[in-house]
Structure formats: structure tokens, C-alpha cells
Amino acid sequence: MQIDRFEDFLIKQNMSTLLKTNLMKAIYILTISLFSFLTSIAQVADFDPIKDLNGFKKLIKTKHANTKTIKSDFTQEKSLSFMDDKLLSKGIMKIKHEMKVRIEYTSPFAYLIVINGENLWIKDGKKVTKINTGAGNPFSKINNVLLNTLQGNFENIKGFDASYLENKKQYLLELTPTETDTKKLFKKIAVYLNHETLEIMRMDMLEKSGDITKMVFTNTELNTPIADEVFVVR
């Protein structure tokens, strides 16, 4: 049916679906950024395939078995191909086993995303939206990515093909979407890890629109106490 009038569309369209889908996209981007802390990769000229891939995976698994909390500042630079412009955002990310994540934008918006098990909260000003990410929910796929990343089970990450590269200073995990819903969002995701500490340094997301989102992580702290209350939104 042709909808000619904007007001007709608004009545027919469930706006909450629109909001949730875009929140999902934003959260997807952010969730993938969590690879950052735990894994990582874009094919770059001076990177070669990791020689000892099993050894690398074992190292990652050991590293994260010993990592109970992670706290880091992040700067997000979005390069807009259409506008030939850039947009900077800043925030703080906190992670705690098991399955507790807090992503807090501080600039230019105050905006908060919290994942705690199957619960996901989004706080925008005073407005709080709670979403259950149980089986059957679109967010369950995000949780799957998150869980496997936290556990170092890279082979179990669904929706992406992963390739592992390295140079003397960094490891690079390059993720290429294989499923329809992830292909709608990304062409490629690249996560860079410090070769020595295995901590995330940077993540680049090449989006389908041609835009590139770069996240740079600084001031990373491991195993500093983080209260459980931080992962609950009221």
C-alpha cells in the first residue's frame, strides 16, 4: 500500500521498532569493540599471517582467564564519506566477568549502554530502556559474540570470518561478515592488539555506507575493582 502522507506513515510505523533497530546497530558497533580488549584486526601492508596461530589463541585465552575486569577510556572518530567530515565522541568502557559490560559516552552525548547477562539497558538522559536479550531476540546474537569473545572462543563467533595477522608491534584480527544481518552493517572490522600486552589499541569498522569508525583505547586498567552496581541501571 502506498503511504503518501507522513502522518499516515507515523501512525502505521511502530516507532519503537525504528528506535530499537538503530540502538541495536549502535550497540552492535560497540559490542564488536569489545573484541578489542580481548582479541582483535584490517589487512595492512606490513602485517603477515600469525605463524603460531594456536599459540596466539592459547595466549589470548590465558590472558583473559586472568582478566576479571577491564576499564578503558575510548575516543571514537567517525569518518563520514558522504560529508567528507569527521565526528569525535569520547567515553569510558568497563567490563567485568561474567557478562557485565558498561559503555558510557561522555561527549558529545551523555549516553549509557549496560549489558548484564541477558539484560540490556540504554539510558538516554533520564529515560531508561530495558531489553531482554534472551534466545530469539536480535540481541541474543550480540550476546553470543560477546560471550565467545570474553571466553576466547573465537571459532564460535558467529556471523564473521576471522583472519589473524601480526607484525612486530601488533596483532591484527580481521573480521569479515558472512551473515545477512552483519553484512548489512559492516564490510569489515579490524582490531589491533598490543603484541606484548595483548591489550586492545585500536579498532576500525568499515561500514557498508563507506563510513569508517575508529575507536582508540587509552588508559586501560586490568583487574581494578569495579562494583557490580555499575552494571545495573535504574
Binding site: I3, D4, R5, F6, E7, D8, F9, L10, I11, Q13, M15, S16, T17, L18, L19, T21, N22, L23, K25, A26, I27, I29, L30, Q76, K78, L80, F82, M83, D84, D85, L87, S89, Y105, P108, F109, Y111, I113, D124, K127, E207, S209, D211, T213
Partner: protein, 213 residues
């Protein structure tokens, strides 16, 4: 008798939105018939720079917050991008005087009626606020100046305060009823830092705050 329902309904609807009382403005002095308006891109050197707004869109009580980025490419071509929180892109479009080209849109917005409404609003803020206007009437008073411009079947009213800042742009329909009001406020260095765009025929408004680099 059977037309009574129709006539009554029409009268009721007609009284729902307020008629813009241009005639009540004092006609103390008529000025020239042209009016130049230049809200953001005030010089050639400022052209092709982008302007970013924190945007809070409310549609039938639902809020969508994000960042609206506008870029002037020429006097008759502007680009617009809207990003939601987390920098997820909602749409990219080019705005021209009589049409628009959508380069990217999320599935939920990708309806002609929606994109046309968004494009019309952005066109008013860009081309509509950066041009020389041929006014049907310009009236001055001690409180400012108001220019009446014919637009399709209705009018646009550009209202300036005594300090020559544009406070409001009102678009009316063929009955001179308000369709859309844009209110400009918080002027600093001759540039409005807050803009409120309000539709009168349906519940939608866009609240914009200029982002400073």
C-alpha cells in the same frame, strides 16, 4: 442536510490550526521588495564547511536523539547526514531547490513520505535560510520586521527582531494556516545556537543545538 456533516467537519478542522495574523502587523513602513537571508554560511570562505547540531526529534511522543550535519556545496546544493547515538547513521541526502537525492537511509526511514518531510525541513533550514527572497510584502515596526514570501499555495513569513536577528520562519498553507514554525534563538556572533522546528499538522518537532568544535 447530508452536506452538513462535511461542512461542520471542515469548519472544525479549519479552526484547529491558527491562522497567521500577518494583517495585524503594523504597516508603519514598507521597505524594498527583496530580502537577503544568510543564517549560517555568511561568507564565501565559510562555504563548504559543515555545521553540526545536537538534534532531538520528537515524533508522536517518541524521541530520537542524534547529530544533524549540514554542509553547503553551492547556493543550490546542500548535503545532510543524521547520526543516532553511538554514531549509527540514519540517512544521507542531498538537498536541491525542488528535489532531493537520498544516498543512504535505514530501512525504517526509507519511505518516500518520510524522506520528503525530512528533506523539506532541511531545505527550509538550508536553501530557505540562505538566499535572496523576493518578498510580496515587507513590513516594519518598532519590534522588528516581517517579510511575506509566496511559497507554492501558501506563504512563508520571515520575522526579524529589532536587532535584525531572525526569530521565526513560519510556513503557511493555502488558507494561511500554520504548517511549520521554525524558531531561532540564543544568538551569538549573529548565529542562532538553538533552533526549534515544529510541525502544526502532526506532532513532530526537531530541537537543534549548534555544536561548537
Amino acid at each position: 442536510m447530508r452536506y452538513l456533516w462535511f461542512v461542520s467537519s471542515w469548519v472544525l478542522l479549519a479552526s484547529c490550526t491558527s491562522r497567521f495574523p500577518f494583517d495585524k502587523y503594523p504597516e508603519s513602513k514598507k521597505t524594498a521588495d527583496t530580502k537577503t537571508i544568510n543564517l549560517f554560511w555568511k561568507s564565501d570562505s565559510a562555504s563548504k564547511t559543515s555545521i553540526k547540531f545536537l538534534a532531538n526529534t520528537t515524533i508522536y511522543g517518541k524521541e530520537i536523539k542524534g547529530i544533524l550535519i549540514l554542509r553547503k556545496m553551492s547556493d543550490t546544493l546542500y548535503k545532510a547526514t543524521f547520526l543516532a547515538q553511538g554514531a549509527a547513521k540514519l540517512f544521507d541526502m542531498e538537498i536541491l531547490p525542488d528535489t532531493f537525492i537520498t544516498h543512504y537511509s535505514i530501512e525504517q526511514l526509507n519511505k518516500q513520505a518520510v524522506l520528503r518531510t525530512l528533506a523539506n525541513d532541511i531545505r527550509l533550514l538550508t536553501i530557505g535560510c540562505h538566499q535572496s527572497l523576493v518578498a510580496q510584502s515587507i513590513r516594519q515596526s518598532s519590534t522588528g520586521e516581517i517579510a511575506q514570501i509566496r511559497f507554492k499555495n501558501g506563504f512563508r513569513y520571515y520575522i526579524q527582531d529589532a536587532e535584525s536577528n531572525f526569530n521565526q520562519l513560519i510556513q503557511t498553507n493555502f488558507q494561511n494556516k500554520k504548517d511549520l514554525t521554525i524558531t531561532f534563538s540564543s544568538y551569538k556572533n549573529d548565529i542562532p545556537h538553538n533552533i526549534l522546528l515544529k510541525h502544526h499538522r502532526f506532532r513532530m518537532q526537531i530541537d537543534l543545538s549548534l555544536m561548537l568544535d
